[in-house]
């Protein structure tokens, strides 16, 4: 009997099995729960209930607005920062980039807690009492604070790849600095904008740690919704999770998916 020769292809089997059991099957389970009732009969009740409840829909709208505002603010802050760093001729600009990424390595909850303590201090000052009750403001601030590096990193890597001779050519052809910025820099940084936007928008819809810790539990976002249903109604929770899943996949499809080299959390560093 001939022993079958070792083939390098077989090495992908453990990972494939892992993915089937712990990624694909759970997705199917969610799908199953979303379309069944508590007696495990096929039912579209969750779907109908979800879209006919005005309080649910208004929460979703609020959550989307929060995510939109957070994403826009992150973009407005991160774009100039990434541009300045990418075009800087400084020898050690890498160190400054590191300074932006470094806080990400402190535990996320501890970081939000630090911000919470700062807000507590500020609202005890004279004339700052309004801050104590501004739950939406604090939530958005916290999200921008936490997700800003996700916007800076992809923008920086895309801008770094822009050929400097394009700037020179644009100047030689008589374009002003502003025209070069709007007609060279911005169009060429669109891929970075896309991945930055997806990387910020998604957690700001779903990461309810920030809204719970900074918004005095008065701000409900989609992620919190799922977690609330998790306690009592898995079927409804699965339905919302499924809807979120579809939204995420459709938007990723449209933005062209994730490029591995523009990876989150400083892989490329």
């Amino acid at each position: 009997m001939k022993i079958p020769r070792f083939s390098r292809k077989t090495l992908c089997i453990p990972y494939a099995v892992f993915l089937i059991f712990f990624v694909i099957v759970p997705m199917l389970v969610i799908f199953f729960y979303a379309f069944t009732d508590s007696n495990m009969h096929l039912s579209f009740n969750n779907f109908v209930k979800f879209f006919s409840d005005p309080t649910k829909l208004s929460t979703i709208v609020y959550s989307l607005v929060i995510a939109l505002i957070t994403t826009v603010i992150c973009l407005v802050i991160a774009y100039p920062v990434a541009y300045i760093l990418a075009r800087s001729t400084m020898k050690r600009k890498f160190v400054i980039l590191m300074l932006f990424v470094l806080p990400m390595w402190i535990n996320f909850v501890l970081r939000v807690n630090a911000l919470r303590e700062l807000f507590n201090l500020l609202s005890s000052l004279d004339g700052m009492a309004w801050l104590a009750g501004s739950n939406y403001f604090k939530t958005v601030f916290g999200m921008v604070y936490d997700f800003l590096p996700f916007m800076i990193l992809p923008l920086y890597t895309t801008m770094l790849k822009i050929d400097p001779s394009l700037y020179e050519a644009s100047a030689d052809l008589g374009a002003s600095g502003f025209a070069t910025f709007t007609r060279v820099t911005i169009p060429l940084s669109v891929p970075g904008i896309m991945s930055g936007v997806t990387m910020v928008a998604l957690p700001s819809m779903t990461n309810y740690v920030v809204s719970d810790m900074l918004g005095n539990a008065k701000v409900t976002i989609i992620g919190k919704f799922i977690s609330d249903y998790f306690g009592n109604d898995w079927h409804m929770g699965s339905m919302i999770a499924l809807i979120l899943l579809i939204v995420v996949f459709v938007s990723t499809w449209f933005t062209g998916g994730f490029k591995s080299e523009e990876n989150v959390r400083g892989t490329s560093l």
Partner: protein, 271 residues
């Protein structure tokens, strides 16, 4: 022209500095008050190390720190092995199979963490596994392994493939060739994948919250509960959390400085 240039430069430095100031303000605030005698932020009463002492005397807090790091280490090791072996297999397999595995592997990357957590927990409970250290570890591996694959893959693509063939021609077994020839070429990707897995696991709250066994606390779940559901001893605990934040911050700064210095030195040595 020149004056305009200087103004512009100052403006740029001001903007970058301002953003950095806002980013570091909360952390520095905690760092300062972690050395205060009292546990009130706002008035500095006098230098003391009480909060640091409290941190190291509280067995519950020490337990959760230990839990966090042990879990991160185990999850990172397992994810790195699984991800590296998986990436190797994917690299050598047919394009269609590779695309399929890659597609499935991207699901946890782009998915909302709460959806990953919910789907895993519902599945675990439905098949009767419940929630245990095993399910927690699997949960962390699900969020970490795809990132290991993503950081190993580019290194495989850059690799010189003929070296493996040469090793086989010279009589090495396929395993030996992978171990001695392929692995050394992709090791930077493996290491960065491992580091990434550690940070992802240390940072996680949501997946931990849902898949953990009863009574198991990590830094994330502990801090979240201490701040959102006030307990009687919270004030004392919160102050020792400032100390914890400061310690972690200092360790990270040291780590970054040392690794940067050593890489600069290496570069200069190779010149």
């Amino acid at each position: 022209m020149n004056k305009k240039h200087v103004v512009f430069k100052c403006l740029k430095a001001f903007l970058v500095g301002l953003v950095l100031l806002v980013i570091y303000a909360p952390i520095l605030l905690l760092a300062i008050y972690s050395f205060d005698k009292t546990n009130m932020i706002g008035r500095f009463e006098g230098f003391s190390l009480t909060h640091y002492a409290a941190l190291f005397q509280n067995s519950k807090v020490l337990g959760m720190i230990g839990n966090t790091f042990l879990l991160a280490f185990l999850a990172a090791i397992l994810s790195t092995i699984l991800g590296t072996v998986g990436a190797l297999g994917m690299f050598y397999t047919k394009k269609r199979v590779k695309m399929l595995i890659h597609g499935a592997s991207q699901i946890p990357v782009i998915n909302a963490e709460i959806v990953t957590a919910l789907s895993l927990t519902v599945t675990f409970v439905a098949v009767g596994l419940g929630r245990s250290y095993f399910t927690l570890l699997i949960g962390h591996m699900v969020i970490c392994t795809p990132f290991v694959v993503l950081s190993v893959m580019p290194k495989l693509k850059q690799m010189d493939n003929s070296l493996y063939e040469a090793a086989l021609d010279l009589g090495a077994s396929p395993f030996k060739a992978l171990w001695k020839v392929v692995l050394p070429q992709i090791i930077p990707g493996v290491i960065s994948g491992f580091m990434l897995a550690i940070t992802l696991s240390l940072d996680d709250y949501i997946v931990t919250m849902y898949t953990r066994p009863a009574g198991f606390e990590t830094i994330s779940t502990y801090v979240y509960n201490a701040t959102t559901k006030g307990n009687a001893h919270t004030a004392v605990t919160l102050a020792s959390l400032w100390a914890l934040t400061t310690i972690i911050f200092v360790i990270i700064v040291l780590f970054v400085v040392i690794s940067n210095l050593s890489s600069i030195r290496k570069k200069e040595a190779s010149k």
